[in-house]
Structure formats: structure tokens, C-alpha cells
């Protein structure tokens, strides 16, 4: 039986008038998609190896390269798309689970694209962020139910009530958990440096903390995941906050797997596992089988850092996210992270990434509403994660109830990522999702940090503009303020769950 | 402070620059026994070969002397030195007083002492005057054949120049190979082959016994030691050069083959320095001082001497034998000890490509490179010069040393960062 040859996903178009055979593409492609023939002096391309990362295209000095989706088309079919056929073909050949990287790419509704913001007209004047102070600062940590103050005291002694530790963020955007191991050391360095410069935080993910990064401690959230990689006393002391990872939006319900080949000497030391062994993160924490177990771990960690740092929990957005989040707050978490359907990953089975979980917009709305109804919204900060592409997404998330937002994919795109979704191969040409020394040098942390800081700065300025447009001068005033949002093109039930009125309806 | 420099070659001009770096005001006088303001002797062969014109032989711009406040005395030869009176006596009877003196009189050719030497048409090839005379003679007498006595650097450059004028040349060398002081047998062989291809006849282990003139006084033929007769109209004497120090006999300036100087380039006479081809200076690797008649050494010695004449105490790092010469279109570079005697713990690493005419050789001792010889491919030769000077231990690099891709990247990172000259590849 003639097993169908798999059509290459991409086609490399090379304009021979412009190609000067400088061989830059040939030298750099980690997938060997470009080949140089020294006899003829001509560079050709092997389309089947191209993953569509566009690294060659970006570097070609004459712009001779264009990467196109392979125009070889199957007969139009609304159900049997090219991808559906290819997946079946591939699985028939390999018998294996199809892996992928990054976030869900299927056309499920993006609720952010159905939400619109308000602006001031006449009754509530706008504020110009360039002329008046605009407060984007956010404090992560549980807030007490009430504050008692003593009058006439020195400022440090005014507050009578106990205030749990708070972490100030200069902007409500943080860098999400991307571990050293899934991405390169240069990539995590860029994130740490940028977090420090921008006054925000980066989450170490389950990779432990590399010695070079300890100086950035005050700008890190250290994660305690199910594999407990790299978790030791100094690790917990180093960060500004601790996050217990129960689940991840890209692969809810299953664990993680870093193949042994990617566990280099350095990663072995950072994660505290033997080099060359697979780093398996089990699906549940094997010491957390109930909400009481979680409470125990939360308080154990709080004790370990003597209550000086906030301890939070990260879960994936699933059907029962609201009651789960409620339980977590009751268990004493200082912040709760909800990772939605569009969250990214270094490697996950494609079918789980694409079909498990719920969108972050709905998740945040229901969690926020539920916590408010129960009167415990103040006890934990709410951080939303999963597919924030621009400042509008961020501000809408805040309006739906988030205190802050974790960005992942956007940060990597700032570092050069073109979302080719081949992170699991470890051959990332941009030097991001790889440990190969040939490739990791391509990411200069100075440039990386610069770009990330620029991104945060740009988004913060835009948020200020939008806030000003609404006549608001502090982000706090927008938090959970669904009155500033209106929905377009959404069904009745969606709007009810989001708690957002349809556009056109006034107060 | 009055500075006097005898000699206007590279050592002299470098000394001017050295003095001016530290003393912009002192009075400088340069004495030259030639009539031209400034020219580079190595370029004479280009003049002979018609590749350069007379006005293209300078190595410093025209305004060099004026700009540096130098009094240049041309056509004045220094014939005597009175160190107690601190003055130099010139050929025209006048004398010049000095506070500091630099002797940079260079070298003079070793004369051939054979019958017929005084015949018309016999030339040396070390001064511009001589080169010009030779060129005139070649033209005036429609010279078709020439004999060059001496297969060293000067002899070979003269040969090239003559071949370039379509004159048939016979080269006679006393040793068993050309360039015996610089090359090993294989390298000399490559050059000898190339010369033969250009139509030059080469006689080794031989020399000219007698020059025979014709009736009108010009050269008719030469007779070799083995009695063989070679018809020719011009003979070039190029058997060697000795430091020009005869005029210092009887003075306080002590000489061996050349003027003996210490690591500051001071001679035995107070206030008197020497630099360039005329001096005998410490070698880079120690050992007895030697005469190193090479341009870069002359320049460095002149510079250091100049600085020290102003009161400085700069140590000269010592001279290293090195030569770069392109013959018959084949570039060659030799540095250090290129032809060691068998045994004595020397190790040879070589790479030969006969088809391409490439021969590369490194001589190692104690794991360090002490000599390098490149024929046909001189790419990045200076890297090896650096390794020789820094006495870098080659260790496991030996296999890589002569590879095409060999470079600084193969050396330890610390070495790359702290280079002897001062500039590393700083990060």
C-alpha cells in the first residue's frame, strides 16, 4: 500500500535574482532546510524540513527568501481539513501521541475580540496621562478584611491590623512561568533582567533557579511544581513570592515531561535531578489529594519563609474553576493564578492543548464574581494567564476582575519567536526553546531584556491612555469594573457569565 | 638638548619620531651621505623592475622633516667621532656637536675581492645611486645577459628585477641552496624551480672567480670557480652586507660585527646610541647579541633609541629574525629558526601541497613554536609570529596548527584576552 507522503507544511520561495549565495540561511537553519552546493555555488532548500520559524527570512540580507504555507491544496472540505488528514496520516505511521508547543491555535472564540471599552464623553471628563499622574501600580497579596489605624503615630506605627506581605508591581503585567529547561538560559536571563528593569516579576516555572539568577530574586516568583524540581531552602528564600503549580492552561490535568536529552549538566544541577534522566512532573502533586492537603502545603511554605512572602496557587481554567478557586482562597493562598485555554507550553500532546480547558475571559469572570459573592475577593490577588496579545487584552482582563496578567507567548514573540510550535524539538532557531549551545547564543540577553522592557513600557503607556480615556486615573478603579465593558456579537449566556452588558445598553 | 642622528634610513626616521614623542622642542639634526631626502631601500628592486618610479620610493611624506623640526644635512658623510668632545666629524671637514648621538649608518655590501672587479658594468645594489647607475647602464649598453653573485635576499631581488626587464640572468651561489640563511632545503628548492621556470640559470656551490672585460672596458664574461665561462654584460655583487662601522675604529664605541648595544640601545660611549642594520642588539630569546638587518627591527630599535635619547628608560624587547619576500610571484614568510640542526630536541610540523605549490613548516622546541616558514600561502602568518614571541605552549593544538581554519579561537581564552602587544580581544 502506498503510504501517502506527507506534504511539507511550508514552501521556501527563493528569488534567485536576489539570492547572492552568501550562505547565511544555510549556516543558520537548525533544521538544515537550506543546503549549499559548493560545486555550483547555489543554495537550495529542502521544503520538508522547514518549520516556518522565519529565522532565515529575517536574516537574509537581500530579502530573497519568503516562507509560504505550502500551496499544495486538498479539495475544500469544511470537516476534513488538511490538518485533520495529516494528523491521521502521521498517527498511522508513528502510532504515537502528536506533540506540539505554544498555545491553542484552534478557532475557538476569543472573547476579548468581542469586548469593547468605554470612553468618557461630557459627563466624566477624560484624563490626559501625559499631564496628570496615572497609577498603574498593583500590589500582589491578600488584603485584610478591614484596616484599623492608630492616629497620631509615626507613619510606620499607624497600621494596627496585620498586613500580609505585598509585592508592588509597577505595571499589572508579569512574565509567566517559563522554565529554564523548556527555554534557554539566555531567554530566562532576558526575562529576569527585564522584570527587574520594568519593576515587575518573572516566574521561574518548574525549572528551579539557576545560580546566575539569584541576584534577580526580588523580581522572581519561584514555582513549586509537582516534580518539586530545584526546590530547596535558598530557592524559597530567593524569590519575592512562591507559587504552587497545580495545573497549566495548555495541558490541564496532565503532568509535564522534559526529555532526558534536554537535561544537560547545568539543568541537572538547577533542577536537582541526574543529568540525562527524563524530568517527569506527575499530574497531581503526590502529596496533594484534597483541598486540606493543599492548605497544608501552603502553610508549610509560609512557615518556611516565615510569612514574609506571599504564597499562591496556579490552576488551569477548567469547568469547575470557580469553586476550585474559592477553595484555594479559603485554604490561605495569597494569590490565585488562572491559566486559560490559550496558555502556552514547551511541549504537550496536541489533542490536550487544543481541546481541554476553558477560555480565560470566562474563567476570570466567574472566579472574580464567585469570590465577591462569598465576600473573600480581598483575601487573594487574582492573576490571569493565557493568550494576552496586546494591552487591550490586558485591560479587559482587569475589567473582568484580574488584579494582574501573566504574559508568556507575547514575551517570547518579543524575543523573536514566530510561534512555529516546534518548541518540543529543541531546535528553536531563535535560541529560545533550546539548550543547544549553537542555538542559545543567538539570543543576546541584553537585546532580549531591552525588547521585553520596551514591550511592557509600550503596553503600560497604552493602558494609561485607555484608562485616561475612561476618565480613570488608577487601575484599581477598573478592577472588576464590568460597567466599563460592553459585548458585541455574544450570546445571552456568554454575556451573563461574563457579567457584561451588550453594546448599546447604557448604565 | 641637541640630538644628532647619523643615517637617514628607517632607524633614523623612527628615532626622530621617538624623540619627538617625548621632546617636542629639542634640536634634531639628521646626517645623510645620500642626496635624496628620503627613500626605502627595499623598494629599490621595485625600481629596477620598473614597478615604481623614483619619486615613489619614499616611506615618509615630503614634509616629514619640516613637520618634526629636523635639520636634514644631505650628501654629508660621517667619517670620525670624538666622544670626549661630543662631536661628529664630517667628510667636508666640518664637525657637529651633540648632546645625544644615534648612529644608524646601516650596512655596507661586502666587496667581492676577485680580479676584474673594477671592470665597467659591475654593480652593487644597496643604494639608490647604485640602482640608478645600474638602470642607466642597462639601458645605455642594451644589456641582454647578467650574472648575479650571491643567492641571498638582495641577490634574488636583483635577479627578479633584471628578469622583469627581460634580461637573461645567471645566479651564482656559494652555498648548496639559495636563501641559505633564511630557508630550508625544500623551500629553497621551490624558489629555485620557480627561477628556472622564468629562464634563470642557477649555479649552486659555486662562485665567480674572475671577471673578464672586453676591449671597450665593459664586462664580457665571468669565470666560475669550476672554470665555467658565462657571457654577460653586467655583474651584480650581492654576497652579503656588513654593518657600516669601519669609521668608528679607534673610538670609544665598542664594536663586534656591529656596534654593541645594551637593552636600551646604548653603546659603550656615553650619550651615544645605535640602531638598525649597523648595530648588534640583544635577541628576542636572549643569547649573544646579533645583527638583525630587517626593516621592522630597525624601526623598533630606532624608536626605542629615540625615546631613550630623551632620557627615557624603555627596554628593547630584542630582535627576532624574520623576513617577508615575494619571489617569482610566490609569497614567502620566515620567522625565527626555520632550519634547525637535526636532534637537539626540535620537532617539525609541516604541511605540503605540491600541486598548489604550498609549503608550511613550524619548528617547535619544548612544545613551543620557535620558527615558522611559509611558502606559497602566507595567510595569517603573523599569528604564528605572535605565538613565537609569546612562547605559547601548543599542547594538543599541534594537530590544528597548520590547518586552514587555525586561528586565535583555538588558543586558550585567557591568552586571547591578554595579548602581549596590549590589545586583546576584549569583551
Amino acid at each position: 500500500m502506498a503510504k501517502g507522503k506527507m506534504t511539507p507544511e511550508f514552501k521556501v520561495l527563493r528569488d534567485m535574482e536576489k539570492c547572492v549565495s552568501c550562505q547565511v540561511c544555510h549556516r543558520l537553519c537548525s533544521n538544515d532546510a537550506h543546503l549549499y552546493d559548493p560545486d555550483t555555488g547555489v543554495v537550495t532548500s529542502e521544503d520538508s524540513r522547514c518549520v516556518g520559524c522565519h529565522f532565515c527570512e529575517s536574516l537574509c540580507p537581500t530579502g530573497a527568501l519568503v516562507i509560504r504555507r505550502n500551496p499544495s491544496e486538498i479539495k475544500l472540505n469544511a470537516l476534513w481539513s488538511g490538518r485533520a488528514l495529516e494528523d491521521i496520516s502521521r498517527q498511522s505511521t508513528t502510532g504515537g501521541v502528536l506533540l506540539t508547543g505554544m498555545g491553542n491555535d484552534r478557532p475557538f472564540p476569543v472573547y476579548f475580540d468581542h469586548l469593547l471599552l468605554n470612553a468618557s464623553q461630557v459627563t466624566n471628563p477624560s484624563i490626559d496621562p501625559l499631564r496628570e499622574p496615572m497609577e498603574l501600580r498593583t500590589y500582589l497579596g491578600g488584603k485584610p478584611d478591614r484596616l484599623e489605624v492608630k492616629e497620631g503615630q509615626k507613619p510606620e506605627e499607624v497600621l494596627k491590623s496585620f498586613l500580609a506581605s505585598q509585592i508592588p508591581l509597577e505595571t499589572p503585567i508579569l512574565f509567566t512561568a517559563m522554565s529554564y529547561g523548556s527555554i534557554s538560559l539566555n531567554a530566562v536571563k532576558s526575562l529576569a533582567m527585564a522584570a527587574k528593569e520594568a519593576g515587575t516579576l518573572w516566574n521561574t516555572g518548574e525549572g528551579g533557579l539557576h545560580p546566575d539568577l539569584y541576584p534577580y530574586g526580588p523580581h522572581l516568583v519561584v514555582q513549586v511544581a509537582s516534580g518539586r524540581f530545584g526546590v530547596h531552602k535558598e530557592y524559597l528564600e530567593a524569590g519575592a513570592a512562591i507559587e504552587i503549580k497545580i495545573g497549566q492552561g495548555a495541558k490541564p490535568g496532565i503532568g509535564g515531561h522534559l526529555p532526558g536529552e534536554k537535561v544537560t549538566e547545568e539543568i541537572s544541577r538547577t533542577r536537582m535531578i541526574p543529568a540525562g534522566t527524563d524530568a517527569l512532573s506527575p499530574a497531581p502533586h503526590h502529596d496533594i489529594y484534597s483541598i486540606e492537603d493543599l492548605k497544608q502545603l501552603i502553610y508549610a511554605l509560609k512557615e518556611a519563609v516565615r510569612y514574609r512572602k506571599p504564597v499562591g496557587v496556579k490552576i488551569a481554567a477548567v469547568h469547575n474553576v470557580a469553586p476550585i478557586a474559592s477553595g484555594i482562597v479559603r485554604a490561605g493562598a495569597d494569590f490565585v493564578v488562572i491559566d486559560g485555554l490559550r496558555g502556552g507550553t514547551g511541549a504537550a500532546p496536541r489533542v490536550i492543548r487544543d481541546h481541554v480547558g476553558i477560555p480565560i475571559e470566562l474563567a476570570i469572570s466567574v472566579v472574580d464574581q464567585r469570590l465577591r459573592e462569598e465576600g473573600q475577593r480581598n483575601r487573594a490577588s487574582l492573576i490571569a494567564a493565557g493568550g494576552f496579545r496586546n494591552s487591550a487584552d490586558v485591560i479587559k482582563a482587569v475589567a473582568l476582575g484580574a488584579d494582574a496578567v501573566y504574559v508568556g507567548t507575547s514575551a517570547l514573540v518579543a524575543l523573536g519567536c514566530h510561534v512555529c510550535q516546534k518548541c518540543y524539538t529543541g531546535k528553536c532557531n531563535w535560541g529560545i526553546a533550546t539548550q543547544d549551545p549553537y542555538l542559545t547564543k543567538r539570543l543576546n540577553p541584553e537585546i532580549g531584556a531591552r525588547r521585553l522592557v520596551n514591550l511592557l513600557r509600550a503596553w503600560s503607556l497604552e493602558i494609561k491612555e485607555m484608562l485616561g480615556g475612561m476618565g480613570i486615573n488608577a487601575l484599581e478603579s477598573l478592577r472588576g469594573n464590568r460597567e466599563q465593558l460592553r459585548a458585541v456579537g455574544l450570546a445571552e449566556t456568554d454575556m451573563k457569565i461574563l457579567g457584561v452588558k451588550p453594546a448599546g445598553e447604557a448604565w | 638638548m641637541r640630538y644628532v642622528i647619523v643615517g637617514n634610513g628607517p632607524a633614523g626616521t623612527a628615532a626622530v619620531e621617538g624623540i619627538r614623542e617625548a621632546d617636542p622642542k629639542g634640536r634634531i639634526t639628521v646626517i645623510s651621505d645620500e642626496g635624496v631626502m628620503n627613500y626605502s631601500k627595499p623598494l629599490l628592486s621595485y625600481l629596477l623592475a620598473r614597478k615604481l618610479k623614483k619619486n615613489q620610493l619614499t616611506h615618509r611624506p615630503e614634509n616629514f622633516y619640516a613637520r618634526n623640526g629636523v635639520e636634514l644635512l644631505l650628501k654629508k658623510k660621517a667619517v670620525g667621532l670624538e666622544t670626549e668632545k661630543k662631536r661628529v666629524v664630517l667628510s667636508d671637514g666640518s664637525s657637529i656637536l651633540y648632546d645625544r648621538l644615534l648612529i644608524a649608518t646601516g650596512g655596507a655590501p661586502i666587496p667581492l675581492k676577485i680580479p676584474g672587479k673594477k671592470t665597467q658594468g659591475v654593480f652593487t645594489f644597496t643604494r639608490l645611486e647604485e640602482a640608478e647607475e645600474l638602470i642607466r647602464y642597462l639601458k645605455d649598453h642594451s644589456v641582454r645577459e647578467a650574472v648575479v653573485v650571491g643567492g641571498g635576499l638582495i641577490g634574488l631581488k636583483a635577479t627578479e628585477g633584471l628578469l622583469g626587464r627581460e634580461i637573461s640572468v645567471t645566479l651564482v651561489e656559494l652555498a648548496d641552496r639559495v636563501l641559505s640563511a633564511t630557508f630550508d632545503r625544500r623551500a629553497s628548492g621551490i624558489i629555485e624551480e620557480a627561477l628556472k621556470k622564468e629562464g634563470c640559470r642557477v649555479f649552486l656551490k659555486n662562485t665567480v672567480g674572475k671577471i673578464v672585460g672586453n676591449r671597450s672596458g665593459g664586462v664580457k664574461e665571468v669565470v666560475l670557480q669550476n672554470q665555467r665561462k658565462i657571457p654577460c654584460q653586467v655583474v651584480i655583487e650581492a654576497v652579503g652586507v656588513l654593518p657600516n662601522v669601519g669609521w668608528l675604529k679607534g673610538t670609544e664605541v665598542r664594536c663586534d660585527r656591529g656596534i654593541l648595544v645594551n637593552q636600551f640601545l646604548q653603546t659603550s660611549a656615553e650619550g651615544v646610541f645605535a640602531a638598525g642594520d649597523c648595530c648588534q642588539a640583544p635577541g628576542f630569546f636572549g643569547g649573544p647579541p646579533g645583527v638583525f638587518p630587517i626593516w621592522p627591527s630597525a624601526v623598533r630599535q630606532g624608536k626605542v633609541a629615540g625615546l631613550n635619547m630623551t632620557g627615557g628608560k624603555k627596554e628593547y624587547e630584542g630582535a627576532l629574525v624574520m623576513n617577508s619576500v615575494e619571489l617569482c610571484g610566490i609569497p614567502t614568510i620566515s620567522v625565527g629558526l626555520t632550519d634547525p640542526r637535526e636532534g637537539n630536541g626540535y620537532e617539525i610540523v609541516e604541511s605540503v601541497n605540491e600541486k598548489k605549490g604550498v609549503y608550511k613548516k613550524l619548528v617547535l622546541r619544548d612544545d613551543r613554536i620557535v620558527g615558522a616558514l611559509f611558502v606559497g600561502d602566507i595567510g595569517r602568518a603573523g599569528v604564528y609570529t605572535g605565538l613565537i614571541k609569546d612562547a605559547v605552549k601548543t599542547g594538543d593544538l599541534k594537530g590544528h596548527l597548520l590547518k586552514e581554519s587555525f586561528g586565535l579561537i583555538h588558543l586558550p581564552k585567557d591568552y586571547r584576552k591578554h595579548y602581549v602587544i596590549g590589545e586583546g580581544i576584549e569583551v
Partner: protein
């Protein structure tokens, strides 16, 4: 003076520095014409050394105590007083290769197909920043004041 400093940990061996050096030293300064139309193709004055995953771009260091300045027999090598760079006058060079013999970095090359004189980096005189530095995609070479 401003010099080029190397960060070898960021060099990805793309050799775009060599490409742009060739273009800068071509007659037309147009990359397609320089590669396809000019013969001989100009020689790049920067060379990338590589060994395994280590690589870096190397060009004339414009040394303070430059041995090439002393070795030149025609005065073609001279120091530019303004920029401090060591410049090689290709018109004056006669191809004696003395400078190649003494340069410990091996960054002077013979322009064999062209004029049979030397080729060496001149810090892109006339440009604000050398083109190799400008076009390095990863800032593996930078143009900074000496400290």
C-alpha cells in the same frame, strides 16, 4: 578612541559581518551587484573564526602599539590622527607582505585577485559606525570607547 569589541558568546556564525564588509568595499555598494556583477569580488576585511559552537568576528584591532606601522616599507600604513585608526593606503602598498608577517591577529589579507596589495579593516572611514557592527544581528561586536 572608539574601537570594535567582541562578545564571542553572542556570535552566531552567520557571517553577515563579512557580507556587509564586502558590500561596503565594493564599487557599487549594492549587495546584489557586488556579489554578482563585480569581478573580482572585494575581499572582506573581517573574518569569522569558528570552532565547534564557538565563533567570533575578527578584524584589525587598530592597536595602540601597532607592529604593522613599523613593518611597512612604503609608509602606506599610517595612523589617522582623528579616529586613531590604522589606515592602509592601497595605492602606496607594493605587496611586500611585511605587515602580514608581524600582525599577531592575522587580520591583514592579500588581495590576490585584485591589485595584489593588502586588504585591512579601516573602521569604515566616513561612516558613523562600521558596517559590520551595524549589521550584526546579535550585537556580538560593538563599537565603543576604549575604557
Amino acid at each position: 578612541m572608539k574601537k570594535i569589541f567582541i562578545h564571542e558568546e553572542y556570535c552566531m556564525n552567520c557571517r553577515l559581518c563579512e557580507v556587509h564588509c564586502i558590500v561596503q568595499n565594493s564599487k557599487t555598494r549594492n549587495i546584489i551587484k557586488a556579489y554578482k556583477g563585480e569581478y573580482p569580488k572585494p575581499v572582506p576585511r573581517v573574518l569569522v573564526e569558528e570552532q565547534g559552537y564557538l565563533s567570533f568576528a575578527l578584524q584589525c584591532r587598530h592597536c595602540e602599539d601597532a607592529p604593522c606601522l613599523e613593518a611597512c616599507i612604503t609608509g602606506a600604513m599610517r595612523r589617522d590622527p582623528e579616529s586613531g585608526a590604522v589606515l592602509a593606503d592601497e595605492e602606496r602598498c607594493v605587496g611586500c607582505w611585511m605587515c602580514i608577517m608581524v600582525c599577531p591577529f592575522g587580520v591583514i589579507s592579500r588581495n590576490v585577485e585584485g591589485k595584489r596589495v593588502i586588504s585591512k579593516c579601516n573602521l569604515c572611514q566616513g561612516e558613523e559606525i562600521p558596517v559590520c557592527v551595524k549589521n550584526c544581528p546579535n550585537e556580538a561586536i560593538v563599537f565603543e570607547e576604549e575604557k
